[in-house]
């Protein structure tokens, strides 16, 4: 076993975790441990972002405009204080990234910005070509290395937080490479574990997005809100099969070139659902997801079960100028956009819900902070494109500063870590946990996707219970072996099942449709439902309370 002692522990090294580490160090934390289950800066969604980052950077823009757009997109459920922080601190962090030479695309002195759907003007900056995420990650990694007080540690997965007298005092997990159990004692712990899209069959994010942070928070006594709002990205690549490119890659094509979204009969259809298309990209994600799904349900889908996306009207030279090497990558996949349309369909992409925090990113449990996608509330029922990276960096910065200043809780007691450590060292019967993960993804996609009804959600619940029973209470096989994926999948599944419980419970409770949550059996948006659902508990039972949406200050 290995034990680490640190002032600030950060779990997850994506944009939020890396920025938090840098800020905690700058604000005087004696030492910072940045822990990651994969490679630092490479395991999560941040490195995969291909599109844009929203911030009111130009003189003719103002963060208040960005804030208004964020509230509108959030369909009445944004926490205004968090949304304001995203937009205001977002400007600082995007500028600071510029100073750190991230390389935002520019025209002379002006950063090049595009207008993404839902924004009132061009405020989304990016790094060419489709390199926003890799550039953000690389830049933060370089900065991390300049801070001697930050210790970076990859390959360690956190399985439980340690609580004492209602305080989080550290964490338990294991080193994946060797199987060695790990305990960490920390004055303050920041969850920066990202989203939960691995719960769905078709998703745009990484293998590590099992929603660990939501489950860790719940088990430690923190509360979640907005868990019913899983964002589906409407035009995820569906067919033909492509390699080497993320399925969300068509979004930047639409920003730059428009493109036309067509049904199986090659007709435009967004206007039938209240949006406009006409070769311009203005429809928000929830509406586009709805429109495509409805067309497919009505038998008007493309052959693989989605919609067509066409750039055939765009000249070769324009394509090349906008996307350079990406056009060659498409060619290597046999796709020539001047000749071929591609098929797209909604794909799980981002989570609006998450851990409840205050404006200092403090959770309901002292000693525990959260930052980035794992936080709930800033984006309400629907997130604007470009807001997620900004959220990760801005909230990371705030959490890092607050954690550095946090008052210490009780001294770490190994006894408080004993139960979690026993689970890491337990030995259970063999199981095909990889198959159980696939079964859970299927159940969630089929019954708890963007369109739900009570009957489907009941089926999802039953599937979760059956998978949990099959997974059993103990991790399969002997502990302490190198890169044991059967056990790792079991620990992931344990978190995924609790997260699935919380999505299904919240989706069942919200008997209306709003943003990313569409109830087929309750299609209207109800003013009475302009409330949040707050969850606490664990797999033995979740409590749901309706709480008002905080008012703007």
């Amino acid at each position: 076993m290995r034990h680490f002692t640190t002032e600030v522990l950060i779990i997850g090294a994506g944009g939020a975790g890396m920025y938090a580490a840098i800020e905690a160090s700058r604000q005087g934390a004696g030492d910072v441990l940045l822990l990651e289950r994969s490679l630092i800066g490479r395991g999560g969604a941040t490195v995969m972002a291909q599109m844009t980052v929203a911030a009111a950077l130009e003189a003719d823009d103002d963060w208040h405009f960005h804030y208004q757009d964020t509230l509108t997109a959030g369909r009445g459920l944004c926490d205004p204080a968090l949304a304001a922080l995203l937009c205001e601190v977002g400007v600082d962090v995007i500028r600071e990234m510029e100073g750190w030479k991230v390389g935002w695309a520019r025209d002379g002195n002006r950063l090049r910005a595009v207008q993404a759907p839902g924004h009132d003007r061009a405020r989304c900056v990016y790094v060419d070509f489709l390199s926003t995420g890799p550039a953000v990650s690389r830049t933060l990694r370089t900065q991390l290395q300049r801070h001697e007080r930050i210790r970076r540690l990859g390959d360690v997965v956190v399985t439980d937080l340690v609580t004492q007298e209602g305080h989080v005092t550290g964490a338990v997990g294991f080193d994946i490479a060797s199987g060695t159990p790990v305990t960490i004692e920390a004055k303050a712990t920041i969850l920066a574990t990202g989203g939960l899209t691995r719960l769905y069959r078709r998703n745009s994010a990484s293998a590590h997005m099992s929603g660990d942070g939501f489950a860790l928070a719940l088990r430690a006594g923190a509360k979640l809100l907005g868990m019913e709002f899983v964002q589906f990205f409407p035009i995820g690549h569906l067919a033909p099969r492509m390699v080497g490119m993320d399925p969300i890659m068509w979004d930047p094509f639409r920003y730059k070139l428009g493109g036309r979204l067509l049904n199986g009969a090659k007709e435009e259809f967004i206007d039938r659902y209240g949006g406009t298309d006409e070769g311009r990209y203005t429809t928000t994600r929830d509406l586009a997801t709805y429109a495509i799904t409805q067309e497919v349900a009505a038998g008007r889908g493309s052959p693989a079960g989605g919609a067509w996306l066409s750039f055939r009207h765009v000249p070769q030279a324009t394509l090349r100028e906008a996307f350079g090497p990406v056009i060659d990558k498409l060619a290597a996949n046999g796709i020539d956009l001047t000749r071929d349309d591609v098929e797209v369909a909604p794909i799980a992409h981002y989570h609006m819900g998450g851990v409840r925090v205050d404006t200092g990113m403090r959770t309901d449990v002292p000693g525990l902070f959260a930052a980035g996608e794992v936080v709930g509330g800033a984006n309400g029922a629907n997130r604007l494109s470009g807001n997620a990276i900004t959220e990760a960096l801005a909230f990371g910065k705030i959490a890092g500063a607050e954690a550095a200043r946090a008052a210490p809780g009780p001294a770490f007691s190994p006894a408080a870590a004993a139960e979690a450590l026993a689970l890491v060292g337990a030995e259970g019967p063999a199981r095909n946990t990889a198959a159980l993960v696939v079964a859970l993804q299927a159940a969630m996609a089929d019954h708890a996707g963007p369109f739900r009804d009570a009957a489907g959600l009941a089926r999802a619940s039953a599937a979760i219970a059956a998978i949990r029973a099959e997974a059993g209470p103990l991790p399969p096989g002997a502990p302490g072996l190198p890169h044991d994926m059967v056990r790792l999948d079991w620990f992931d599944l344990r978190q995924m099942l609790l997260v699935a419980d919380s999505i299904v419970a919240a989706a069942l409770a919200r008997t209306e449709s709003r943003g990313a949550h569409q109830r087929i059996d309750h299609p209207e948006t109800e003013e009475d439902w302009r409330v949040n659902l707050l969850l606490s508990g664990d797999e033995r039972g979740l409590d749901i309370t309706r709480i008002p949406v905080p008012e703007a200050a």
């Binding site: 395991g43 490479a177 990484s206 390699v243 080497g244 994926m485």
Partner: protein, 108 residues
């Protein structure tokens, strides 16, 4: 239905390697990583592989030797017939296709 066979070098450090062969339906366009993930879910969950981003070719965690050439499992195409897979030769072996790729100052 055409088939793809993956002949995989397996084992942990310090034990003699063994070679396991897995056969699956060949789907045009699929990647080697698609095939490996299917094998884990449908045939042998103990097969150790390493990957994060699945498609984006952003994490660079899935590097291995495919038919003698170092490449990414997520961009190499699955082929009809037999493909051999081995772990990276110049990195410490952890298990099966997984090697120690984390920088030395970022692991313990």
């Amino acid at each position: 239905m055409p088939q793809a066979t993956l002949l995989i070098r397996r084992g942990v450090a310090g034990e003699p390697p063994r070679h396991d062969s897995f056969t699956l339906e060949f789907e045009p366009g699929a990647s080697v990583l698609d095939g490996l993930r299917r094998i884990r879910a449908e045939q042998d969950p103990t097969l150790a592989i390493r990957y994060a981003c699945l498609n984006a070719n952003a994490c660079k965690e899935c590097m291995m030797v495919v038919n003698g050439r170092v490449t990414y499992a997520c961009t190499a195409r699955l082929e009809e017939g037999t493909t051999t897979l081995e772990p990276l030769p110049n990195k410490a072996l952890l298990r099966d296709l997984v090697t120690q790729i984390a920088p030395p100052d970022e692991r313990f």
